[in-house]
């Protein structure tokens, strides 16, 4: 059974249809990369999957269970599905360690010690253990983003949604965040990543989905998308993006 199935998902803001009848599936431990220009609907799609946006129509099945039916408690879904944002969104009034432990103690009701052990283990894994008592505004963008990923992982999500997590970073900091995503993939984490990093999508993704104007135009393994795309729009987009590099 697929880990995540999205069927005919629709989302509009007023008259502007941002997700047009989107369907796809993600298998366990897969990395799906969403590519497409700005405004193509990548971020909205991810926000819909996490039920941060109210969807207009369609189904979202997690392990076969419909989590999009009206009345489903979004908090139950979000405990199983972590999300990381373009602008990190760390809590500025808390230390790094508190950022990582708050949800564990308040939502999972873990003891302070257990939560802290888990947080320190994650920080160590990302080489950030000496930053545990620092506040977010004293950290580089790359460090903040890695901590945001650690914060999501501290909740033991089954799926991680990553919304353009490297787009706000200086070029020399992009690598450290992509490295983290690669290591998570090795550990078997199921992930959906909206990205502009074509090189990374090509080398690391299991599937790549191209979105254009709110439509999912094409979804295929990266070799196929990048060398022999079926749709003219995909070809056009890729030739423009890849030429620019």
């Amino acid at each position: 059974m697929s880990k995540l199935v999205v069927k005919n998902l629709r989302k509009s803001f007023g008259h502007n249809e941002v997700c047009k009848n989107i369907s796809f599936e993600v298998q366990k431990s897969e990395l799906l990369c969403l590519i497409g220009g700005s405004g193509s609907g990548k971020s909205t799609l991810l926000r819909c999957l996490n039920l941060l946006e109210h969807i207009d129509d369609g189904e979202i099945l997690l392990d076969g269970e419909d989590v999009s039916i009206p009345g489903f408690d979004p908090e139950l879904l979000r405990r199983r599905m972590g999300m990381v944002f373009q602008s990190y969104n760390l809590f500025p009034h808390m230390s790094v360690l508190q950022n990582l432990t708050l949800a564990q103690t308040k939502i999972k009701k873990l003891s302070a010690q257990t939560a802290q052990d888990k947080a320190m283990a994650l920080l160590e894994q990302f080489g950030l253990e000496e930053k545990a008592h620092t506040y977010p505004d004293k950290l580089s963008g790359g460090q903040q983003q890695r901590i945001a990923i650690a914060r999501a992982l501290a909740m033991d999500p089954e799926i991680l949604l990553l919304d353009e997590v490297t787009s706000a970073l200086d070029p020399e900091l992009v690598g450290e965040v992509l490295q983290v995503i690669k290591s998570l993939k090795k550990q078997g984490m199921t992930m959906i990543l909206a990205t502009h990093e074509m090189g990374f999508a090509r080398s690391a993704a299991d599937q790549v989905a191209f979105l254009y104007g709110g439509e999912l135009v094409e979804i295929a393994p990266p070799e196929k998308i990048f060398t022999n795309p079926e749709n003219a729009k995909t070809r056009q987009f890729l030739s423009r993006v890849l030429d620019a590099n």
Binding site: P74, E75, A148
Partner: protein
Amino acid sequence: MGNKDQPPLTRRAAYEAGLRKRGINIALFSSAVFFLAVYFLIPLAPGWPAVKQSFFNWDILQTSFPKLLSAFKLDLLLFALCAPLILILGLVVALMRNITSPSLFPLKIVAIVFIDLFRAVPVILTIYIIGFGIPGLGLFPPYNSPYLWGSLALILTYAAYMAEVYRSGIESIHKSQVSAAQSLGFSKWQTLRYIILPQTVSRIMPTIMNFMISLQKDVALLSFIGPIEVLRQANVLKSLYGNFTPYIGAAILFLCITIPATRLADYMIAKEQKRKDA
């Protein structure tokens, strides 16, 4: 500064240092001229000897000051009682105002009416209406005390303002913080409690300080309905001595509290600004 190891000033730095020095000299000179003029010109006014006698009488200040000081303790006590209640009630009203759930909609209406009403009516009228009106219902001591109902009037008025301060503070927190909290599984209430409110409070602290300074002075308005606090005491002493100096004494007492508090508020505003710019 003045360190011998430091490199010599560049031409630009030397020029700018010269400009700064010149500015300081001009400020010192113009201030000296202004204050000397005030010092020498005011006593030239025809009524000055009379004003000096009836407002700045040292003997009367000395004899009245202990009584004023002990009356001022009541001002401080009323302030200490009102301030925490205002902060709590203001927050409660702000949260009621932000309610979105349909079943709790009546609470939202209550909050809106409350805020509109108590911000619209002059505080002194509220004090008269509640302070005289409610004891007039024939309540028994101590529930007919003007201290109690006068304080309530102040609390309600200030809480209405404070509610709007909280609300604008809450709205100033970026929506991405809400998204981040919700994506971790926090409920609406938990998001408010752990993520939004702590950031709001540190952001609105300077405004809260300003309201507290204002409240500290407005406590004196309660004198109009009975409590012998410092303003009423000064009134009594004024009539007793036929001299206005007790008012100056009362003003000095307020200054002793409000000026340090104002400086503290300024310091906190500067700190918050610095944090924002960082």
